[in-house]
Symmetry: D2
Subunit: 353 residues, 4 copies
């Protein structure tokens, strides 16, 4: 991947939280982007980032970021793209202000994912939904735009589901997910609640997975989103794992592939051809594991720098057509890296001048 | 529960393993039974139990057991009932020798679960399958008998499935289980494999769950087992939990109950009327939790001294009719206590003279 | 232990916190005491306890407690003894109000532990420090009194140190503790911070251990506390353990006992003779484990209903005289049960009329 | 670090075990060495490494290694240096055969660490002990040699102790270690034993730490090892941590440095000047952390690719002079990387022709 001659200045909203820190880490050495501003809530503004950010990543805080002064969440940052790691309640107010002011907002928040004119995008799955941006700009009068990336668990199952849908026609999906603690942010779950335990409930998660999957597998026609009519049931559990959301899937298909055919289309999938290849996009975003006991979150969630979805145990089903296990790194592909890939898509497709 | 005037002498085969230890613990203070012999493999024979048994339970080893001398696995033990905690490969050879010699063998091993003339029983679910014993004795010429209890995960899901089947007619079941490490015995899984991880495979488990569920929900007619024609799919995962197997179920029913109706029949279930009530049998073997985030293995697996199956998150389903979460204590109701309950059933139904 | 004809009414201050819940659980079936009132901060007042208390113990909430109405933290509760599970900052203001009004305050908070006229007591170690109460009442003009129980880690090491001090003269102690997460209350440490990790720092803990040990091993003469001149160094670590604080001790003694002598005095220790034996006090408050790898927190912290301190690996030392490992249940003997034992001591010694 | 024009062929003995795998991983991209042979016990010989090695590292198995054919543990391997990851009982027989045949054996086993003519070396601490090799070759008549690296826990404490000894004169050391599960190899500890627990005993560990520390801090004079007369006491605990051994140290010194002086000499330490700088050797092998709650195993054990020992909480002591916490990556600096550093030392010092 060739680095750009002049990098595009970007800003991070909510830079001191866990997802914000992931953005800082990932963008501190990005071939196209350079961090021009870090913004956070009022009490941290005007302080040195290294002084007010309690760093949680194993990799140390990048020294250039540590020395930056935190700015406020106002659309006066010297950047073209802003990555939003804001809580949804705050995102709902702040992100439109940035879009209005001309920024390209790549959001990891759920605030606007279901708006009819805001694209919810995984480049390999539905980049054509960018077409909604025209309507968004027209109706809202924004100089900039908002694009969102999906819920972390959804990301891990939609990628293989898309491939199966294209190849064989997807009818029904049963998903039971076992989700890592990092999905709850920081401080997240107390040790005393989740250690040696499973909690069979994550607030709002099942609804998000079901709806977002239908949106991502759906179409955009005449500026309108058309949900896929796939039937999907999601059950979510929290398990004592640090990173990596795993899902057990059962799917019913229109055509009945052999296991070999299913594995082949999954492994060969490479997403659509874009005008320019994306630095964070793996050549094959899905890897199919052949071992009987993989993928496993601790061993496999970092595949492809956390950008590759691992699929394993593809096997026939007594009731439906296929069963399989999927794994995604929930704070990389499922959060910060996913939003960065969307920003790269915008650049590739000419949304930045 | 009235204690018997004179307790029935029982023996434990495989008394030094983890399930064997559970038997020792549970039987050391049982109202009907008293431990008369502890048997194990040759190298431990003639040693004091307390000296050759590496005790793993949090409750200390009962002192009377500690002082017993370990006997060999031969059918010369001074007992009427033997509880088998043997590995299946050894059980296949040893259990028939005891049945031949007149012992009532209550087995926790999988060796004979699928034999056409050996009852696989949960008293509350299918005690009428005891009818197979007549055929077993007739065809094999045994003075004693073998009765088996099911796989631990199966036990946790079959109890509520039976209730739903009786009330509403069960058609299809999708089960995804998250199983505790104690299910793998001792030493079981290395810390370095399962800590902070999920392993999406347990050898042979899914096949057992699918087959045993059909057997337990099936009938016995004219000395023959008739499998239920319910369609079931099982996916098994190992999670870093000490005790307690949890399953996420999705079920399709013939009649369509409301959530309230489904919860009511589950909570009110009390099993069949027997000639004598069983000391280890809870009045209501299923509890329905109303909190949105229960049951949880660490908090709930000991319900009813580990004999009650907890059901939670009963809720409607976009595709099938009901979704729910079930939890069973895998080494109590799902292993040692389940076999003891079967022995109590044999006594209650007059199989011992 | 004979139950009293008429139980003494007691109240719990801070009843909804983790230690408060332990008090509720332990006092719901106490032979001398009965819970007459539960008090908490304003926002919970007038609500049903079961509705505003997020219960964290594995044992379920006692139903009588669940139905009580939470009262405010004012000295108008219909009780004679109050158990304080308040945070220290609040305890500092509230506890004197109760003492002033005539209540016997048995506090688990650190607020008054170091006051010159407030006894810091473990009945088996220094019950004679109750003598300070006379001065307390005289100088403060209180109708009631405050008595405190020590820091959880201190409790675990002082018990064996006291025995060694009496028998052999204690000169120096090096303590390195590995402390359970429950010591930090609820929510306590995030899973993502402590899982698979050790944190070599607990704020204020080392100072408390060093000072409280000198106080507990010291004397009271002429209404004055005289600190022991034992030299002690404490290093504290947080480890991923649910309950049970373990300490590695190295001690220098004036007389040089053999290992057998040291083990014997530890195991035979039974505390002082009191006017009446205390229901929560074990006959032998220390157990000496002979296995080379015990005590272990998960297996041994419940010894004697969590009231017995386990000591193991007593062995000679290349530099000092003895090394050993001690274990205490930090929320039972080291917190709620310790304060209850102090209340029993007050009753036994006639401080209640 | 310049790569050598022609890499030195090396072999790994015990290549399929956990430490063996670390060697494979580290040597697959080493600037001076290239893997020429992988050797293991008979049953794996003649098989493809990738087929008989159950890989445990998160980094995948290097593909070149996967395709190598496993050779037997006989001194006919086409290599100059052999790295031994053999169990000590086997190392005792095999390693001399290789030394006899002319190989430079860099051993991670404890078999020969205490032999009077076998150097036990950490390059930064006591590289001058290489002088023993002359005696070793003379007395044993070996064409090759054996050099050993110390026990993993010892490595983590000796490095800072050496610095303090040189600067201020070391008299006494109290060490309490909290050691990771990976130190026990694979399968190592069962999850059910160590999860949420601490085991206060590791067989043979305390004796090794005490003896090896005295050897490493000692001298070699006239071909003889002279143990340091520092007094050291070691207590070892196993904690539920994946990688990283932490130790709480208390030390008595002859000169009494300020905390600042002690921190400065630790942080500035860079080891001796060698003929050639070693590729695996960090410029500063000790880092001093200033945060009050660091180092922590999960966050800090990978410092300097696992080659840097982290020291924190340097603080004064009520009894002795200094307290501090040290952390070492037990399978890198404390095992495989330590042995590789020794091999680099041999090359640098001209032991290979």
């Amino acid at each position: 991947m060739e680095a750009r001659k002049k990098k595009i200045p970007v800003a991070i909203l909510g830079a001191t939280g866990v997802v914000g820190q992931r953005f800082v880490n990932l963008l501190s050495d990005h071939p196209w982007f350079e961090i021009a501003a870090l913004a956070s809530s009022e009490k941290r503004v005007s302080h040195r980032y290294g002084d007010v950010c309690q760093w949680h990543l194993t990799d140390g805080m990048p020294s250039e970021a540590a020395d930056m002064v935190v700015q406020s969440l106002e659309p006066t940052l010297s950047a073209k793209i802003v990555f939003s790691a804001l809580p949804s309640s705050i995102a709902r107010k702040i992100e439109p202000e940035f879009a209005q002011a001309g920024y390209l907002v790549c959001s990891n928040a759920s605030a606007f994912r279901q708006e009819p004119d805001v694209p919810l995008v995984i480049p390999e799955v539905n980049y054509s939904h960018l077409a909604l941006i025209k309507r968004q700009k027209r109706e809202r009068g924004w100089k900039g735009l908002i694009i969102t990336s999906p819920n972390c668990t959804t990301t891990g199952i939609v990628m293989p589901l898309k491939v199966l849908d294209q190849a064989f026609g997807l009818r029904k999906v049963f998903s039971v997910s076992m989700q890592a603690v990092s999905g709850a942010g920081y401080p997240g779950l107390p040790y005393s609640d989740i250690e040696g335990n499973v909690i069979p409930y994550i607030g709002g998660e099942e609804e998000k997975i079901e709806l977002e999957t239908r949106l991502l597998l759906g179409d955009v026609q005449d500026d309108k989103r058309i949900e896929s009519d796939v039937m999907i049931s999601a059950q979510s559990n929290r398990v004592p794992v640090v990173d990596g959301h795993m899902s057990c899937l059962s799917v019913e298909l229109e055509k009945k592939p052999t296991i070999e055919e299913a594995c082949r289309v999954l492994a060969e999938f490479s997403g659509p051809s874009l005008k320019q290849s994306l630095p964070s996009g793996p050549e094959h975003p899905i890897v199919v594991r052949e071992e009987k006991d993989r993928p496993q979150p601790r061993k496999d969630c970092n595949a492809g720098n956390g950008m590759i979805v691992s699929v394993g145990r593809v096997r026939p089903y007594s009731i439906l057509d296929l069963r399989m296990v999927t794994l995604v790194h929930n704070t990389l592909r499922g959060a910060a890296s996913g939003a960065i890939l969307n920003a790269e898509l915008l650049v590739s497709e000419g949304y930045i001048n």
